[in-house]
Amino acid sequence: MNSVLEIKDLKTYFKTPRGTAKAVDGVSFAIPKGGTFALVGESGCGKSMTALSVIQLVPEPAGYIAGGRVLLNGRDITGLTEREKRGIRGNNISMIFQEPMTSLNPVLTIGEQIMEAITLHQGKTRKEAREAAIEMLGRVKLPDPASLLSAYPHSLSGGMRQRVMIAIALSCRPDLLIADEPTTALDVTIQAQIIDLIDELKRETSTAVLLITHNMALVYTHAETVGVMYAGKIVELAPTKTLFRNPMHPYTVKLLRSIPGQEKRGLKLDTISGAVPPATSYPVGCRFSGRCPREMEGCSGIEPPLVECSPLHSVACHLHDAEFMSKPYSRPLRHEPDVLPPLAVPHGEKEALLEVKGLKTYYPIRKGLFKRVAVHLKAVDGIDLTVRKGSTLALVGESGCGKTTAGKSIIQLIRPTEGNIIFEGSDLTTLSEKGLRPFRSRMQIIFQDPYSSLNPRLTVKETIEEGIKALNPGLAKKAREEKIAWTLDRVGLGPEAMLRYPHEFSGGQRQRVGIARALAVDPEFIVCDEAVSALDVSVQAQILNLLKSIQRDFGLSFLFITHDLGVVEYIADEVAVMYEGRIVEQGPTEEIFSNPKDAYTKRLLEAVPKIDASLLSSWKLP
């Protein structure tokens, strides 16, 4: 028994008004000493709940562990008393969370929050704990650890807070560290530092790591073993290299193939039809049935067990079960083609649609006794950009670099402080709100958050109608309704969606409504402000496909604001890299990615975890 953690048939259920939600429904895996096990999957598949079950922090009273065992160094911890569990938490198992901004107590000092765990579990005096805390802060590479002890969390950046979280988690040298999306809320360059730090400390202390993430590339570069979760179960379990070389479950393949990247330019991204079933009502047989590209007649009735198909590689799929395949019900129900269809946008004309010259947007910062404007926050500090007709310009950079402000300033949602925005010969910055009206329908915006981008009190029809009414008031009611129906159809929603409210739709569908809203006024230029960043990878692929196809069909120009470089590589013709309000480098996408010149661009590109290029186009459905 050399596994630090071994989970056997773990079941974590929740009582909800709609019945029992089986968030985790029979999950088994093991992590050896010093090993890193990654649990991947889309949101709502049960990853985080598995993590909380391991550390015995399932939110009570709604949630409870309904079955199975969690063995820590061979000892089942599910049956321990609360007191014994507390002795394990923070001591043998510790955890870091996704949101560093809210995970630290705002009213206690950093020192107090680290020393708390040390004095509790290691029986050290305050003085010794203080020494240990300083040492830990040094090891997570925070500057001036001694003075940091008396600092409060609000004075630290997100990356520094996550380092503090790691220091707290590792302060008692735990056997197992659970990292639940530890880098998701951080900027790309910080992400790399944090994950490298976890790796480094893991090697030093030979702590085992359970890494929870949705980022496949991160798994590829940092985990030894991977479990792919879908609908509360592990559907595929293998050493990382094996899994990425030879994914066997159709879901895994689909998931990998939906990741955007350079090699898929000109092709449609693979997508998964349908939606993840709710945890209260899974299908009887295989939980992927109904969505599977290789579904067979018996799939929806018989549940596939997770079996080892080749050494160390386990899959829960009937396709790899010789006995099942010999039965008559193995006749295929569906057989999607394996090749990705092309989706090429005719290469953009070189003619400029919109030119941004010396754009500056400043915000006043008020300070002192009378709140006078002391300084200006230079959100956008003199940028030049050119958006060409029918092509996509990506504006990339970390959070707070001013890219969203730039996008809003360009379409005059925020009036810029200085500079010119020339849209086909007219300078938008000189126009009044009234003078802008003719341009409003020609430039539109799509937002990030599919939840706050639609007014919950308006039907889809009313939402789309607003723009048509405002910008094309002459259109008769009937023509307007036809237009709405047509637009909805174009974004892949049926006309029955018209009378429904936003809360009746999934995140991806809402994003489609957001696109329809912009599309309905026949724009030529659309700002996509992190339009796919909040979506799961398979949904993201659907929306990227949609954006690309409408660009092809209507000759649209996009300004694509994002921090996701994979998306940029896939969709953008040109890239502008923004840093602290300025553009540090711009040029054709391929050139920037293959030969970055600016130091910041280099750092940015290096920081992104990458899957081996040879694997990227190799994945085939079983």
Partner: protein, 407 residues
Amino acid sequence: MTGLENPPLGRYEQDKTMPVILATDLITFFLVGAIVYFIIASRKDGSLKAVRRELARNRLAVVCMAFLAFYVAVALLDSVRYRDAVIGDDGVPALSEGGSVIYSPEALSLLDRALSGMRTRTEKTYSAPFATHSYAKESMEGAGVTIVRGYPPLKYPRTHWLGTDRVGNDVLFIALKGVRTGVVIGAGTTLVIIPFAIFFGVIAGFYGGAIDDIVQYIYTTLSSIPGVLLIVAFMLLFGSSGYQGGLVSDVHLVWRAFVLNDRLFWLCVILGITSWTDLCRLIRGETLKLRELEYVQASKAFGAGRLSIIYRHIVPNVMHLVLITFVLQFSGLVLAEAILSYIGIGVGPETGSWGNMINTARLELSREPVVWWNLLAAFGAMFALVLPANIFGDAVRDALDPRLRYR
């Protein structure tokens, strides 16, 4: 004061009655209208439908709703009133010198008429619930010419479920007459608050800058004055004139049948002025959040005007706060009315109200023997309105805004 003055309905033609509408009656009508509107709207509007479904699932909330519906129904019945023509000896309506019909000053409501038995069967003085004899000893004529002291029998034994008060009125009837006042105070005050709070809250949050500063200044200044004293000051200044409840005299009437200067109405207005600031603050905060939301930005990208954005996107999305505040404040206002009436600055002495009941009965506990049913009836009637309102308010809030749960 017998049944003669109050003949059964339907014996007279229409022009032999004259409707009287108090300003506060409009509040009841408006409340009932708003409830009906909500029920109809919730059939169509998706998010309201969800709220309704959530409420229907909550069994306790449904029970409370039934209680509240009963109270509102009583208030509504007590808000439809009309005066009867005075009938001369010849059986036809008496005419004034100018030839117009003379109406009785008593504007009896549907409730008064429906419960006319309870209203008119009065005793001499106190009697305990379901009693057959009076509560106080009296000198009575015994056999022959002897005078004995004893408990005289009641005129209407075993009919007074909650006993009678000092002047012999049925306590149950008086408690029911307090319903309308409670409901009107709870609903009317909020109706006064809503337009102020929405208007100031939304413009402060949406426009920001100097407008925000001014609105914040106004509500900080207003809320810095102790509420109860502001009410006292206002009521001392305005409350003493006007219709105090009871008989309707012609001086109160405007446009023939309308009583505008209604003390209860002023009380609602004044309570509203002193308590709109909380909701205003909430709405301002919510608007600050909403105006940055992406759907508002999208609307701006269509070149939509500010008023259109406020109308389409801001106001509908602060309405849940309004509804939550309405149901949660309701109970507090009912309790406040009793206290204000008790210290003599609430409703007029002629208006049926639980505060007035308590005020007249406050010394009864020190009587020997104790008269308890008056106080208990008043407190019980109030409790039976306030408790369901509190529970229902919580349920509505949970259904509308799960974020605020537990609050």
